[in-house]
Structure formats: structure tokens, C-alpha cells
């Protein structure tokens, strides 16, 4: 039990450090898409809601699962779609630039 906690803590700390390193290199122009992209990644909470649903047995528990599932699914689906829309504009512009030069 203590060993498992230690492993989880190690993973948590190392993931924090990886996050700092990966993000500090992103240019300011991409900060809004990045924030939105990071926002989509914490949509992984949907996996947590699914795990919670497996052990739920009470009526009030089902209500909590339903609301949490709505919230989490909105976060993950909406997060990725809106980020993609933002980044699509960057990409489309790049392609047209290439055409202008040729």
C-alpha cells in the first residue's frame, strides 16, 4: 500500500517536471491553443468517471456519475474540437503561403 503510494507520487512529480519542460518551449503565439489543448488533456477525467461508475451502487451515486459524465464528456470532446479549430487556421494559412511562393 505504501509502496503503491510512493510509485504514484513519483509518477506525479516526474509528470509535473515533464510538463514544465515541454511547455516552457512553446512560443507566445501558440499560448491560447496550448491552453485549450492542455484543457482538453485534463478531459482524461472522463476515464476516472468511468472507473467510478463501475463501483457505483446507490441512487444518489448514479446521479453523481451522470452529472460527472456530462461534465467530463463536454470537457474532453469540446476541448479537442475547439483546439483543432484554432490550429486549423494556422495550418490553412501555411498552405496558402506555400502556394503564393510557388
Amino acid at each position: 500500500m505504501t509502496y503503491e503510494l510512493l510509485v504514484a507520487l513519483t509518477v506525479f512529480i516526474l509528470a509535473l517536471l515533464v510538463g514544465f519542460e515541454v511547455i516552457s518551449k512553446v512560443p507566445a503565439t501558440l499560448h491560447t491553443p496550448l491552453m485549450s489543448g492542455a484543457n482538453a488533456i485534463h478531459g482524461v477525467v472522463v476515464v476516472g468517471v468511468m472507473i467510478l461508475a463501475a463501483t457505483t451502487r446507490s441512487t444518489i451515486g448514479y446521479v453523481v456519475v451522470f452529472v460527472a459524465a456530462v461534465f467530463a464528456a463536454m470537457n474532453v470532446v469540446g476541448g479537442y474540437v475547439v483546439t483543432d479549430r484554432m490550429l486549423e487556421m494556422f495550418k490553412a494559412r501555411r498552405v496558402s503561403d506555400g502556394k503564393d511562393e510557388s
Binding site: E4, A8, V11, F12, A15, L16, V18, G19, V22, I23, A28, T29, H31, T32, P33, L34, M35, S36, G37, A38, N39, A40, I41, H42, V45, V46, V47, G48, V49, M50, I51, L52, A53, A54, T56, R57, Y62, V64, V67, A68, A69, V70, F71, A72, A73, M74, N75, V76, V77, G78, G79, Y80, V82, D84, R85, L87, E88, F90, S96, D97
Partner: protein, 469 residues
Amino acid sequence: MSGFDFTVALVYLAAAVTFVLGLHLMNSPASARRGNQLSAAGMTVAILLTVVVLVEDGVITGTGVAVLTAGLVVGGVAGLISAQRVQMTAMPQLVSLFNAVGGGAAALIAVGEAIEESLELAPVRHTVPTVLDVVIGAVTLSGSIVAAGKLAGKVSGSPILIPGGRALSVLLTLVMVAGGVGVSAGAGGLGLLLVVGAAALGLGVLMTLPIGGADMPVVISLLNAFTGTAVAMAGFVLDSTPLVVAGALVGAAGTILTKLMADAMNRSIGSIMMGGFGVGEAAASAAAGAGGSVRETSIDDAALQLAYAGSVVVVPGYGLAAAQAQHELVELCQALERNGVAVSYGIHPVAGRMPGHMNVLLAEANVPYPQLKDLEEINPEFPRTDVVLVVGANDVTNPAARRPGNPVSGMPILDVDHARSVIVIKRSMASGYAGIDNELYTDPKTAMLFADAKAGLKQLHTALQAYVR
């Protein structure tokens, strides 16, 4: 550990790797979209894998399956439709809302666990993350909703000070901490956990209300980091590694972003979160300083000046985003370019309503990427620039920032005053967020064009037709 469990752990690890690589690919505009898609693919795999795990374990009840599926479908469709339909100018508040529901979901996971398994019997390694998850998740949920309301203009953007708000915040914090310690120690159980959650919800509102609209980017970024941390805590509650990894990643991402943004605005995160930064002193200094004369210009004069310039740098700011005038701006600039004027855009890191938001808005209006210059790139260009057109930007152009001893001191600014002439489109002489006069406006080479950004740019474009082919 069985072979199945081992494989599951490996696939979750692979999903976590795609999140890291996805963020890494977002380093450059060319690979950013691929990065996001890679991370979305990893997320899809993680979700499908969880379905397989649920089927394999077989402990989920029929009702559980029905409730979960219904919730996921409703939420997924709502998220998809709102993300597809949102106007790009309204995008910051939508991201804030997605952040709110993420935090809410994380908090509900801890509550749901507490409903099924008594907290009083749980070990400390379970109760502590439960409390942290509920506290952080609830603060994020209510705080992000208020932030979204401020960005959407549904809640006043100006700092709202509630009489006794400070005292109430302290009281709520005390309730939260005392309750949290109680629950962690195994006392009070679910009932006390809900009290803690309610106090955290109230605190989220009180924390965000006194903060001005211009500071919302910093707040949203901070709340984004909060959600990440709450999700990581939910991961500890459920013993789920993907939640711990992804949550910690986002926690770190949000923190770095928050710091970068606060630095660019010359603000400390602490002073922003303490609320109502300089509300009192700013008002006083704004009233005191009315020195220097201002030269006003007309639409026609400004159009003439632009038409006969060799090079023009546009400095768009919060006012442009708020007026949703990016399309009018780009049409004007395209007309100038057709007339042989070299046009580029000087983008301050915090221009718009979120850092980098201005780039997104101008990208949507089809501005070629090479024309968008950041602070370091454009500043050496100003001495060679004929006309700078400042649209709705204020504090980020104030030369006073180069001197010590005032609220904007030390803030990185665009050296607009180094250009040969400056036109500022602004609705009034009202001071910017820092609450001080902009010395640029009283500079002899600056001409003020008092107009709403959208209407002003449109009129400039019309007036320009007289001077260009």
C-alpha cells in the same frame, strides 16, 4: 499482476506518452495541429481501453452502464456542438467553461467515491487526495464560470468588490481548512466533505469577482492548472495512473502559462489573486494626471496619412478583440497593401483576451503568418516605420514602462513611440488597466482618432478609397 492488467497499464502509458508528445508538437505552428490530433488519438485509445476494462471486470451494474452512457452522450454532443459553433472571439469563455466542467467532474469523482465507500474507514492516503480533489475542483468550477461570465460580458468585467467579501473569504477558507483536516483525519465523512465543497464553491466566486476583465487570461490559465491538479488528485483517489500523469502535466502547463502571462503584464500572480489590484490607488492617479495636450485627428486625415506611408505597423489590442473588429482591420490593411504600403502586425504577448488570442483572431481573418511579428521582432523595426496604427491597445504601448516608479514599470512594451508617427484609435482618453495616463497620447507625433474600433476602421477603409486605386 495478470497479463491483462499489465497490457492495460502499458496502453495507458502509451496514451500518456501521446499527451506529452502532443504538447511538445504544439511548439511550432506547423506541427501544432498534428500534436493536438495525436493527443486526441491517445485520449480515444485511453477511453476505449477503459471500456474494455469495465467489460472485462464485469462489476459495473446495468444501471451504471445506462447512466454512464447517457451522461457521456449528452455531454459529448453538447461539447461538440458548442465547440463547432462558437465564434472565435467568444472562444476564451468557452475554454473557461470547458475548464469549469472538467474541475466539476474531478470534484464529483471524489464525492461519488465517498458516497460508495465510507470516508471514516478510509486510510489517510485516500482521504487527503479526496479533500484536495473536492476543494480544488469546486474552486475551479465556480471560479471558471464567473471568469467565463466576465469574458462574455454577462458579469461586469470591472472588479466587483462585495462589502465584507474579504471577511467572508477568510471565513470560508477557515471552514474549508478545518473541515478538510477533519475529513482527512477520518471525522465527519461525506457530510463534512460536502460542507468543504460548498465553502470551496463560494470561495471560487469570491476569488474571481474582484478581478478585472483584463486579468481574466491569467485567472483562466491558473484555473486550468487547478483543474489539472484536481484531476491528478482524482487519480490518487481512484488509483488511476493516466489521471495522475495527465493531471500533473496540465497542472505544470497551466502554472508555466500563468507565470508567462503575469510576467508579460508586469503583474505578480499573488497581487492578481488577492483581487482588485490597485483599485484604490489607480483611480487616484488617473484623476490626478491630466497633463499634456492631445492632438486629435479626423478619419480623412488619418486615411491620407496611411495611404502615403511607406510602411505601417498595426498594434492591435484588447479593444480590437472586444469590438470584434479584426475583419475590418484586415480589410483596411489589405487595401493598404494593394496600394504598395508594407504592412505588418506588432503583437504583444498579452494582446487580445488571452495570450496568443490576437494571433488566432488575425489568423481567422486570413493574415499571412509572416506578417505577425512578436515583441522582440517588431521593436527594432519601429524607428524605420512611417506610421504605427494602434487599435485598442493601451498599457502595452506606454513609454512610462521604461522608467521606474509607476504601475507599468518594467513591463515589456512595444516601442511605438520610436516610429515616425502614430495614430491611436480609441474610444476615449480613459486609462488602461494599469490606471495611469499613457504618455504616448501626449507625444507630439501621436494623433488620436476617437472612435469605436470597428466603426473607426470601417470609416478609415471607406475614406482610403479616395486616395488609392
